[in-house]
């Protein structure tokens, strides 16, 4: 009986994989290949060393797992680079799916399509040792008094404005590198990133960086969830969702997350 069930499950899985392979047929930019876009540069730990082809890093690994689930061999995956603006501008796109920590929001969803979420990102507060020693604590009251900096194209700004509501208006930058420069220059006390980015920035880009705390994603009204971006009405979406569901159900997604984003434990929750 047990053998029979195993056989049945195997058959179903095999069929699902086969169906998924057929599902994407004729729906990609180039038949037989899946073109995936990432950032320029792509940041750690999402893509290691800015080389998604190496399959190193969370998003790179998810991309290859997804492609495999959809019936594309590793060789059939092509990488391109886009900025955020290129991803949302009207007109022809040079990618089938775009993966660069895009948070799913209702407004964005009107203009482009998002896959099912592949990661729920806790938002984390990154600051310096000096600020932390100066009395900053992972409480909302303490965070209010800090001078904040955020990246413009992320959902961090609404969180800072609405949840923290700081006393001084935050400064806004183009990318992580500029936020880091502003922290080094002492122009801001703290920045809000998704947790993996905060951990990387604090450990690698800053000499004196610390992650002060994280917001509990379970408690958030609209937790920040990353989705793969596709053009509005892209027929590929159902294939991507199907494959993502399969990856989630099989535990493969959690496995990849554990491999690349495991250091996330041990950061205190903000009260």
């Amino acid at each position: 009986m047990k053998l029979f069930i195993t056989a049945a499950v195997l058959t179903i899985t095999a069929t699902a994989a086969f169906a998924a392979g057929h599902c994407a047929a004729g729906k990609t930019l180039t038949d037989g290949t899946l073109t995936i876009a990432t950032g320029n540069p792509a940041y750690y730990p999402w893509v290691i060393d800015d080389a998604p082809e190496s399959k190193q890093g969370f998003e790179a690994a998810v991309a290859y797992a997804l492609a495999g689930e959809m019936g594309f061999s590793d060789d059939a995956v092509t990488w391109v680079r886009t900025s955020f603006d290129e991803a949302i501008q009207p007109g022809e796109k040079n990618f089938d799916i775009n993966m660069q920590q895009f948070s799913i929001t209702e407004e964005r969803d009107k203009v482009v399509d998002f896959s099912a979420p592949y990661y729920t990102a806790p938002q984390a507060v990154m600051t310096t040792v000096e600020v932390a020693e100066g009395g900053a604590k992972p409480t909302l009251d303490s965070l209010k008094t800090l001078k904040w900096g955020v990246v413009a194209s992320t959902t961090a700004l609404p969180i800072v404005m609405e949840t923290i509501a700081p006393d001084q208006s935050p400064l806004v930058y183009d990318d992580n590198a500029n936020v880091t420069a502003a922290i080094k220059a002492g122009q801001i006390d703290a920045a809000l990133f998704d947790l993996p980015t905060a951990l990387f920035t604090a450990a690698v880009l800053l000499d004196n960086g610390v992650v002060l705390g994280q917001f509990d994603p379970e408690a958030a009204e609209n937790p920040d969830q990353f989705g793969m971006l596709m053009t509005e009405g892209n027929p590929l979406k159902e294939c991507v969702d199907e494959a993502l569901t399969a990856l989630t159900d099989s535990g493969k997604l959690a496995e990849i997350e554990a491999e690349w984003l495991q250091q996330a434990t041990g950061v205190p929750l903000i009260k």
Partner: protein
């Protein structure tokens, strides 16, 4: 009483006006008809000309624009003061002041040659990074410094060209009247030179008004950044169009006013 020639000229003018009107109308009509026929027009329209997004974001953008105006307002006097000083340094005639001339030339070469945005980054992040305490490391201060450095180099060259355009006879006449070198410059050369380069300097001011937006790269949330924030939250480029309209509302009247002043000045002198 109109002569035959005046009547002929009036007829010619009417004809020219009519042709100009018809051709302008034709071009506009073609644009209005042809552009919406492009296959991607609906997508472009939804993404750049969304009425709802426009109305939702316009008040916020206008509020952010106040910061642009403020930065502009405090930069302009600094730019002209420094620009004039550099122009005078470059024009120094006393041999003992030769180092000043060299300094002026190097200053202009250096700051006119570096892209503004690079200087904004270098000065805006670099100098505060040396360890200045707050509030002296503010991006507003150092961003302004970057703008002043670049634009004073341009303005210095404009002023110098104005000073050199004043005929030597003016200087000689002033010397004959017994004016000192300093008074010659102050009361004879500069008033004429500055008036002569008003259009070029207006150009500088219009360019500066737009380049103020570059300060957003080092943190301040002015109109361009505010538009970028809206763009990323709404995934729609309409806020940029709204920002462009706000810019035009300021720069176009400013340019027209400068033209008006110039014409008035020219008419008064002729």
């Amino acid at each position: 009483m109109s002569t035959r020639r005046a009547a002929y000229e009036a007829r010619q003018r009417r004809r020219a006006n009519m042709i100009a009107g018809v051709s302008t109308f034709g071009v506009l009509a073609l644009l209005l008809v042809l552009v919406p026929l492009a296959p991607g027009w609906q997508a472009v329209k939804a993404s750049f000309f969304d009425g709802d997004v426009f109305l939702r974001t316009f008040p916020g953008l206008l509020q952010a624009f106040v910061l642009d105006v403020a930065i502009f307002a405090w930069s302009v006097p600094l730019i002209f003061a420094l620009g004039l000083a550099i122009a005078l340094a470059r024009g120094a005639r006393n041999p003992a002041l030769f180092p000043l001339r060299i300094f002026g030339a190097v200053y202009v070469d250096l700051f006119r040659g570096i892209p503004v945005v690079l200087l904004v980054y270098l000065v805006g992040f670099g100098i505060p990074g040396l360890g200045l305490p707050r509030p002296w490391n503010s991006p507003y201060i150092w961003g302004t410094v970057a703008l002043v450095l670049t634009y004073s180099a341009y303005v210095a060259e404009v002023l110098r060209s104005g000073i050199e355009s004043i005929h030597a006879s003016q200087r000689n006449a002033a010397i004959c009247l017994g004016l000192s070198e300093r008074d010659t410059m102050r009361h004879v050369i500069l008033p004429q030179a500055i008036r002569r380069v008003v259009p070029a300097n207006m150009n500088m001011l219009v360019a500066l008004q737009k380049d103020v937006a570059l300060l957003s790269f080092i943190g301040p949330v002015e109109i361009l950044r505010q538009a970028g924030i809206y763009k990323s939250l709404l995934a729609n480029f309409t806020p940029y169009v709204a920002a462009a309209i706000i810019f035009l509302c300021v720069t176009v009247p400013a340019t027209r006013y400068a033209d008006y002043l110039l014409n008035k000045d020219r008419n008064a002198r002729s």
